[in-house]
């Protein structure tokens, strides 16, 4: 499991950091339909710490996206890992 974990996590971090800056920036399926059928404007976007996958304070767009991907991948792994650990420790789960 250890080797598999390391390889899979490295692949995820690599994709999110190095490949994501070159991903398509066209609207996705729902955004496209929302634009065509005129309900896109009813959507609101709340600000987040790394809104729109752009790491704050980084001017270079691709670098900002890569850093956001790197941070997010590690964060998601961490949250998942801690949740499972906590769920296993809870005595009622036994």
């Amino acid at each position: 499991m250890k080797l598999f974990t390391i390889i899979a996590l490295a692949l995820a971090i690599g994709l999110a950091t190095a490949v994501s800056p070159f991903a398509s920036s066209s609207p996705d399926g729902l955004e496209r339909v929302a634009g065509e059928q005129a309900f896109l404007a009813s959507g609101r976007s709340q600000p987040g710490p790394i809104s729109d996958y752009a790491f704050p304070g980084v001017k270079d767009e691709r670098l900002a996206t890569g850093l956001a991907g790197f941070t997010g991948t590690l964060l998601v792994f961490g949250v998942g890992f801690v949740l499972v650990k906590a769920a296993r420790r809870r005595p009622s789960a036994a």
């Binding site: 971090i13 066209s26 399926g29 790394i50 991948t73 998601v76 949250v79 499972v84 769920a87 789960a93």
Partner: protein
């Protein structure tokens, strides 16, 4: 397919959040009971891969892009309920940290992009492992496509129930776009599952099948 705040009425958002929360709750219980010591990191790794792959928007016809959702892959590797938890982790971080998908729409997004696909593909794979063990890969691909289509249909129904757009206009458009995006989902899912099959077949086929 992330729904932002403002697309759904409070009633519809709540009606989606309840089943989503129940499924994630079952996932948390399963995480406490079903994951042996060696597989503890698997949920986090799957969530990390799904998050990373979701960032890789690929172009589909006519200036539109699509991205991997991952519920099918998570259900194949972890089972349906742990897949619901995995997808909730990904979508929760996306909503709260990256402003991708609304906070009030989080339940709907977990339902559409997580729970529906995870339970659908989980059920399909449960039968496929017994009835068609040699056809796991094509079945995984077909399941991934169905998961995306089911999620697109659910999203359309929620938008229509909210009065945002009539069902007869939004449903055909969502299904047409996501028929192509679902093909991307199927390709990525099959590639990922075959990579796991070649290194850790027990994660795909189940421990008993490999031991036998």
């Amino acid at each position: 397919m992330h729904i932002p705040d403002g697309f759904l009425t409070t009633d519809v958002a709540l009606a989606c959040a309840v089943p989503a929360a129940v499924a994630v709750g079952v996932g948390l219980r399963k995480a406490g009971t079903d994951l042996d010591e060696r597989r503890v990191p698997l949920l986090g790794v799957t969530a990390a891969f799904v998050f990373a792959a979701q960032m890789l928007n690929f172009p589909v016809a006519g200036g539109t892009s699509g991205h991997f959702l991952g519920a099918a892959l998570a259900a194949i590797l972890l089972g349906p309920w742990l897949a619901c938890l995995t997808m909730a982790v990904v979508l929760g971080v996306q909503a709260f940290v990256f402003a991708d998908g609304g906070i009030t729409a989080l339940g709907a997004n977990v339902l559409n992009m997580g729970v529906i696909g995870a339970l659908l593909v989980g059920a399909i794979m449960h039968h496929a492992r017994r009835l068609a063990p040699r056809a796991i890969l094509p079945i995984a691909g077909a399941g991934a496509w169905c998961a995306v289509m089911a999620g697109a249909a659910a999203t359309s129904v929620e938008l229509a129930l909210s009065g945002t757009v009539p069902l007869h206009t939004v449903l055909p458009a969502m299904l047409a776009t996501h028929a192509v995006i679902g093909a991307g989902e199927a390709i990525i899912t099959v590639a990922a599952v075959s990579a796991v099959l070649s290194t850790r077949p027990d994660l795909v086929r189940g421990r008993l099948a490999v031991a036998a």
